[in-house]
Symmetry: C2
Subunit: 458 residues, 2 copies
Amino acid sequence: MNQETKIPYKIYLTEEEMPKAWYNLRADMKVKPAPLLNPGTGKPLTAEELSPIFCEELVKQELDNDTKFIEIPTEIRDFYKMFRPSPLVRAYCLEEKLNTPAKIYYKFEGNNTSGSHKLNSAIAQAYYAKKQGLKGVTTETGAGQWGTALSMACAYLGLDCKVYMVKVSYEQKPFRREVMRTYGASVVPSPSETTEVGRKILAEHPGTTGSLGCAISEAVEVATKNPGYRYVLGSVLNQVLLHQSVIGLETKIAMDKYGIKPDIIIGCAGGGSNLGGLIGPFMGEKLRGEADYRIIAVEPASCPSFTRGTFAYDFCDTGMICPLAKMYTLGSSFIPSANHAGGLRFHGMSSTLSQLYHDGYMEATSVEQTEVFKAAEFFARTEGILPAPESSHAICQALKEAEKCKETGEEKTIVFGLTGTGYFDLVAYQKYNDGEMTDYIPTDEEIAQSIAKLPHVE
Amino acid sequence: MNQETKIPYKIYLTEEEMPKAWYNLRADMKVKPAPLLNPGTGKPLTAEELSPIFCEELVKQELDNDTKFIEIPTEIRDFYKMFRPSPLVRAYCLEEKLNTPAKIYYKFEGNNTSGSHKLNSAIAQAYYAKKQGLKGVTTETGAGQWGTALSMACAYLGLDCKVYMVKVSYEQKPFRREVMRTYGASVVPSPSETTEVGRKILAEHPGTTGSLGCAISEAVEVATKNPGYRYVLGSVLNQVLLHQSVIGLETKIAMDKYGIKPDIIIGCAGGGSNLGGLIGPFMGEKLRGEADYRIIAVEPASCPSFTRGTFAYDFCDTGMICPLAKMYTLGSSFIPSANHAGGLRFHGMSSTLSQLYHDGYMEATSVEQTEVFKAAEFFARTEGILPAPESSHAICQALKEAEKCKETGEEKTIVFGLTGTGYFDLVAYQKYNDGEMTDYIPTDEEIAQSIAKLPHVE
């Protein structure tokens, strides 16, 4: 272990050093992300059309491609101080164990009860809803990180929170459900009898265990039918990437403070909330021609939207009631195989990140599930933290890059996003520990089938 | 919220400011804690008698009543840097919500995968075992925090780790078990067929779900029968309080840095590991007559060793194979009622803390389970962190003291120990959320019955 170094194991910014504004990556993009379309008219969605679903300030943020910095309201900054700054960790133990000349850092977002970075956007979305005088918000949750984060934010602000939780998760992840209930949220297994769309699905498919698409449809219905409610979403949207930019901003401030310049930046990619947040300010420098970085998105081989999807307009939900977004997609009818553990199971990708990938500003790669858990176990034993399966995709790629440095002797600086902890993913860890975890790579035919169902957009 | 204050939400020491030596509270005690006795001879245990069970350096620390500061080896300090310094949090949100003039702080030890302060001593005990050239260590675990912490420390050092886990917990807390397995520990449900004592108990009580006392007996048997193994324990012992002093030392350094002087220091009390660690350096000042503090131990009304036990020599385990310790005890045959959730279920108390309590240096109080979970829920919603049931005993008392300040108008400074998170205690939270949690206070008769069975020591 390097005792002489000036760089601590964990770099914590002071509260004064924390970002006071979010960074809007779109402002630095020459080619802007394509607008959301109204699935009925095929025309770009206006603020008026969006405001029955999202609260006003968030609609503004969603549509704003020009303002580079948007001030973080004091109330949100105060809430951030309860769990931020998050540490930028120098992975000395990992470097020593790998015997690599690479310098490895990770930005750890898991030190809060939601267990992930989701809280960064949850508090922002809840705050604007409260400010607008709303009674509450609705959302869907699958694995439960987003639902937990939103419940925490709503409890803090005294806002009602209705979470539609995919029925199979509601039953198999009772602990996530209980965390949300402890924070006062009402958690409903989806599909449910509480909505029109839920009753319809239950009539057509009695005994269904639900899907994220169905839960979204129920949450949107409740938000639009109940005065004083709006719908909120934890990933994919531009507003979410904006709020999550706090991850990348803190990372950059911490690195600048110690004169560290990353060569490679690695993030796991599902809908893009963490990836977009982490890489944001670095990508901005790259777009402005001020610096160059290798930026790598890592996705599961079982749900490979960047690496095997197509760049086209598609529905954001399987229920096909949400707006159309132009993105890398496997088709909204694509569902990852049943053996897929953890999150990163969205069929599409943030429009902003899709455009940047399309324009060659970042790379993407995919990794298989068993190698991800092998990396997770190695990381847990070496760095102490039991990582979330999602985060472990980034770990897996970081280890590969560090191994390459060992071969070439290059002292590259690698930073990756450790989005969260795996404390609520132990069913998956148990499978891995018991040697029962399997991999699945969808065939070309499967992907072609769901892509063939993409909506026709002129 | 007070925007003008100079005290941040979270005070993090720099790595240079972290303690370089543990503080040995016994050195400042005029009346030393009574020595451990050999249950066979009734004589104080010698280093020779203790060394087949504990490794040599730990025996030294256990018996050392004189050395005030014991250097923390560099390797342990490096490991500490992976999860320490832990934050001293100013509970601004709690103060605002309570509308109290009190200033509330808590030292949060839950930001590591073991989820509690147990890791502070686990790494120390594993390190000395490794240094002595041992192959591995054995231990017991009930709820699983200690077993998890030890597994993490052993994985880091490449030491074998055998954990005997009370069978009912092994089956009802599969997630804790899987965390330990991910860290490479072998986890055996106790009683088991792997030991003589286990086989004996299984023959006598087929179908038993185990007890902590039985798991201790199995772990000690394996340690003493296998060359290269020693037994380690997560609480009660002097050595554990020594290692845990890092909590109080960091707290004191952080408070001194900002010129904060606590009036009241509150810790939950089971075997005393957190309480002794947190209050150590403050108690030292009090013993030396340099300062005065109100120090309050908070225990469950269902297991009230300080408040309703007797100060006498007793076995540390229900199996009656461990040394005799002089302590406040309910009798080693006392078992908390089945509705008791979480830890703090030990029948006795650290000898050091027992002596200090006996000599009037600290207060003790007990709280009931439903009020504890009510406090936990309030805390989670206000401060964001979902607390462990154990820690919530301290929260409960801190809220009471803050309410008193509101009544009297006194601006007292309260600091309490938030020992860990409740992520693996959601069965208990679910009971509370469902309104099914109950209280139980043992009758005087019950306590008298188990106290009547105390061993006779001259």
